[in-house]
Symmetry: C2
Subunit: 327 residues, 2 copies
């Protein structure tokens, strides 16, 4: 199979390990064309080169898609362009591995949804945190009934602000902290519980954002779900530079028979069956792009396929839109 | 000074240490009269006896107040009676140390507020967690500017369900998890930040509540505050029986210069000035009733006086009312 990459703004590197392991041809990469952020391109190209890839470079992704006719497009432009770029690939029958949020607004998401349904090509979204060891392990325990029925979940994303590219400074070019950061938790709470969101309330603030225009730097979103399950998340970019990791991902899953908690990359289970609180040995992490390739090659449904990813994206956008309207 | 106790439902014992240390006369105790829960009375009287007190017992608190004419009443009836009992004491010029929530509904809270303003007597509420060592220490660090300006806070209360008295099973006799449990966090986030709540959204659920009638067992409340500060809290009663403590109190205070976090009774500070994440040695805990006595005896303002406590109670009731209306 032949793969190409469009844009260099986010987590395209999620695909690189499986591209090698599955012997894909990483044939071409497009960056810098209209609407595709050029910022960070050089650093991203360095990564590509270091991994031993030598894709042909294009500056127009439409030209690249039409000339290269790849099987898979890794879609990673400036975030607000994700939907348009993904639709262009899907319309050409090209499978899409797409950065989240899948769309910058609900209208674009609906167009993407329609494009997915009209295309024989498949789409998966880069909800990569779910494939990390503590998440994979927690999901296995939830599915095995270790904490009974999930009733309440809370999640947290805290990132270092660092130096953000200029496009973060405007709501026209940056989707916001809820669809960019909190979306991971919004996605994983849906995935962990198997419930669906029914109601959202959210807020965000751009105060004290280190001079980054109207970029929001704090936020929360709360959800009510099917079966009366409650879910909350906060996301911020106030993690101090001296912190040991870029991000602080946390989840707490409260079930009728126990509580699972992910903190600092570790997983604990608190339950009577476990005799109290215990550290859970972690399963190996999984590879998100390999998961997608297994669907494409062998029909094994990918864990972050179109339907699930569009649902997660929708509820992240609804949160952002609610927060904006309430300002 | 002469003290009496009305009811035995909650944390009246908060007062006992300072009663001894300040040489107060614990003259009388009323329990079992109309509207004052009799459940748990025997166990509570055992505690009183073990502490070496021998109050005269009454079964009617009005009779007791009029006959004993105490200086202070420790108000601790079935929670929904707090406001009425407190008002009866305030109207007699008797200082009140009152269980939270101060009132079961907003109308009662307004009556209590008016009674406070009309009386020369003072009121303080039993927001005792704030006086624990990690909270006292975190507050000192916040006030010293260690984390800059607070921008986001999240809190958690998780309790063991255990065997709850029958009055928890009905919304007519139990105020709900938001005003009974989450209220602590609602109070401490106001106290830590010095901000005021401006907007609330909340939800609760009584599903899978272990056969406790319509008692809610999961909840969240989110707040927007003055200066755009965001605050969230979850409260549940799904903490497994085998957990090492009854309650799991957590707070995360995200400031412009650092993050303070209370977990498992310990306090951490994450900031560049601290060089990363450090465990903070704890100040000694404070005594909430001693704090109130200092106000009564020496005019030093108590940290959980009427105005602050009524504000915390109001926003807990608003959360509960919102959650009920949305059901």
């Amino acid at each position: 199979m032949k793969a190409v990459q469009i844009g260099t703004a986010g987590h395209a590197f999620y695909a690189y390990k499986a591209i090698k392991n599955y012997g894909l041809d990483f044939a071409a990469l497009s960056c810098g064309s209209a609407g595709i952020a050029a910022e960070g391109t050089e650093a991203a190209l360095e990564v590509v080169k270091k991994r031993g890839f030598a894709p042909k470079l294009y500056d127009n992704y439409i030209t690249m898609l039409d000339e290269e006719r790849p099987d898979i497009a890794i879609v990673n432009p400036q975030f607000t362009e994700n939907a348009d770029v993904a639709i262009a690939a899907l319309e050409r029958g090209i499978h899409v591995f797409c950065e989240k949020p899948l769309a910058p607004d609900l209208a674009s998401l609906d167009r993407l949804d329609a494009a997915c349904k009209a295309s024989k090509a498949r789409l998966a979204a880069m909800f990569g945190i779910r494939y990390e060891a503590p998440f994979v392990t927690a999901k296995r325990l939830v599915d095995a009934g270790e904490i009974g029925e999930i009733r309440l979940m809370d999640s947290r994303k805290s990132y270092k602000l660092g130096k953000r590219p200029a496009f973060y400074s405007s709501r026209k070019t940056y989707c916001g902290i809820l669809p960019w950061v909190a979306i991971h938790g919004i996605d994983w709470m849906r995935w962990f519980s198997g419930e669906h969101y029914t109601k959202v309330y959210a807020a965000h603030s751009s105060r004290e954002n280190g001079g980054n225009g109207d970029m929001d730097i704090t936020s929360f979103a709360t959800y009510e779900m099917t079966n009366g399950v409650l879910a909350t998340i906060t996301a911020d970019m106030f993690r101090p530079a001296s912190a040991p990791s870029h991000g602080d991902d946390r989840v707490r899953l409260v079930g009728t028979k126990g509580i699972l908690e992910i903190t600092d990359g570790a997983l604990t289970l608190l339950s009577d069956a476990a005799g109290g609180k215990v550290n859970v040995p972690l399963d190996p992490p999984k590879d998100i792009f390999a998961d997608f390739l297994e669907e494409l090659l062998h029909g094994v449904p990918c864990d972050c396929g179109a339907e699930a990813s569009i649902e997660s994206t929708r509820w992240a956008l609804l949160a952002r839109d609610f927060a904006e309207r309430a300002e």
